[in-house]
Amino acid sequence: MTEYKKPIPTPDGDSKTFWDGCSEGKLLIQKCNDCKNHIFYPREVCPHCMSDQLNWVEASGKGKVYSYTIARRAAHPSLIEDVPYIVALIELDEGVRLMSNIINCDVEEVRCDMDVKVIFQKQEGMVLPKFELV
């Protein structure tokens, strides 16, 4: 039987600091020194004002469920045993949105705008930011 590995991110020049942060239990995002907006995903220039004065800051890890779906079919053969699972867009208190999973709950429990907090989880040797209901 073929053994499938779960998909993991491919860090690059934009993202290495972010993924390294996750492995240290920190949710690092960028903040623009000029327009003061927080940014996700990480970039070379600010998508709001094109400034290249971007700093890394540690996000609080708190946010809300902006929206979600319950995957009843696996998106990848490695995820078949996880079905049904929640994929959600999390809006962090800092104002940026990221995709993640909501774990450690009944999938039927989740609703838009529920409060969540980050929890770091290993996946195939990397650490990914996932979220729990609070």
Binding site: P9, T10, Y41, Y68, A75, A88, L89, R97, C112
Partner: protein, 389 residues
């Protein structure tokens, strides 16, 4: 500057399907050649006259499909002086219409061929899992079913903000099936009820199997020519009255507002302004139904109803045959066919409606049509407003 009436569609062509598959195991090149030949014959134009080539594809990837216009040009023996492989997903072909009209108006070409084909059903190939590189690294590791998951999240957000119900979405699937029942070429023609949709398997909450488009083969072609060349064609011209396009994101997490398709708002506004017509002037509407929620969101974005009112707008089968708002009259991606990128088929159906060629499903007296393509994860949109003399 406007491209209003700079160009006209004078030829359309497509291929027959059997249970959603091309007949005789034809290749993705063969079916595009068939569609192209039929569109040129429809117009009464010789292949030698084609000097603009517009195509986007999902075939041959990785491989020759990375260069679709050059490869299709080679296969058909077309050496264009204007070439465009704009690839913005399902709305690519509505964008090609605008780009071709602008090129024709500028004198950069005179006879444009727009082409698409897919054998995804015959090949048993679904849309691939997005690689985990570049922006894919922020999505793919979390297992979002592609593409349904992104649309499901938009549906949940719309329901949360506006109280839209699964029943509203099911109305769209049912109305579209009624149109398909009038179209002998449609893949799915058996009767369908609201309960059938709601009781079909849940794929990615809140979207059921019957909220999702079909997975079929298909090929389509369009011939677009200058106003001057249109005078001497086999079929009467269907004019490009207005066109617009935009995109707001590609990854769903970067969509500014999941309950509002801003790219469709922008492309629709641009097309209406260019055409100089209002919503009340539109006789028939063809919009991208990759999923039922796509239709509801697009109707709102195009201004046929207010934000949040899409559910009421489609209720009570208002978009079905005999309803006040003829929508997706060939049976749409939900029931006619959906070969990966559907946008060219919206244009083909609109042209046939405006020519009065649609037999049982003909919208009587249709003079102006609106076509809107949506691509990616509600990411890209292009709107065309078409009209006959």
């Amino acid at each position: 500057m406007s491209i209003k009436r700079a160009a006209a569609i004078v030829g359309v062509g497509d291929v027959e399907l059997e249970n959603g598959k091309v007949i005789g195991n034809k290749s993705v090149f063969q079916i595009q050649a068939m569609a192209a030949k039929r569109a040129l014959d429809d117009a009464g134009i010789k292949k030698e006259e084609v000097d603009g080539l517009f195509t986007a594809g999902l075939w041959g990837l990785p491989g020759v499909g990375q260069f679709p216009s050059a490869v299709i040009g080679e296969y058909l023996g077309i050496q264009p002086r204007y070439s465009d492989s704009t690839q913005i997903g399902g709305s690519s072909f509505e964008a090609h219409v605008g780009h071709a009209a602008a090129a024709i108006q500028s004198g950069l070409c005179e006879v444009a061929l727009i082409l698409y084909g897919s054998t995804q059903a015959s090949d048993s190939v679904r849309l691939p899992v997005k690689p985990t590189t570049l922006t894919g690294q922020y999505e793919t590791p979390f297992g979002l079913p592609n593409p349904v998951g992104a649309y499901a999240m938009a549906a949940h957000r719309h329901m949360h903000q506006y109280g839209t119900k699964q029943e509203h979405l099911a109305e769209i699937a049912v109305a579209t099936r009624k149109w398909a029942q009038l179209n002998p070429e449609a893949t799915k023609r058996e009767p369908l009820s609201i309960d059938d949709v709601l009781n079909s398997k849940m794929i990615s909450d809140p979207l059921h199997l019957l909220d999702c488009c079909l997975v079929t083969d298909g090929a389509g072609a369009i011939v677009l020519v200058s106003a001057e060349r249109a005078k001497d064609c086999r079929k009467k011209p269907i004019w490009i009255l207005g066109q617009g396009e935009s995109h707001s994101h590609w990854s769903i997490h970067a969509m500014p507002d999941l309950a509002t398709v801003t790219s469709a708002q922008k492309s629709g506004k641009a097309a209406f302004e260019m055409a100089g017509v209002t919503h009340d002037d539109i006789d028939v509407v063809e919009i991208y139904d990759s999923f039922t929620i796509t239709v509801l969101l697009t109707l709102e974005a195009l201004g046929f109803c207010k934000p949040g009112e899409g559910g009421d707008f489609v209720a009570n089968q208002r978009t079905a045959p005999g309803g006040v708002f003829p929508l997706n009259t060939n049976g749409g991606g939900l029931s006619y066919a959906h070969p990966g990128m559907y946008g060219i088929f919206l244009l083909i159906e609109a042209v046939r409606q405006l020519r009065g060629e649609c037999a049982e499903r003909q919208v009587e007296g249709a003079k102006i049509a609106l076509v809107n393509g949506i691509g990616g994860s509600l990411s890209t949109s292009s709107t065309c407003i078409l009209g006959r003399d």
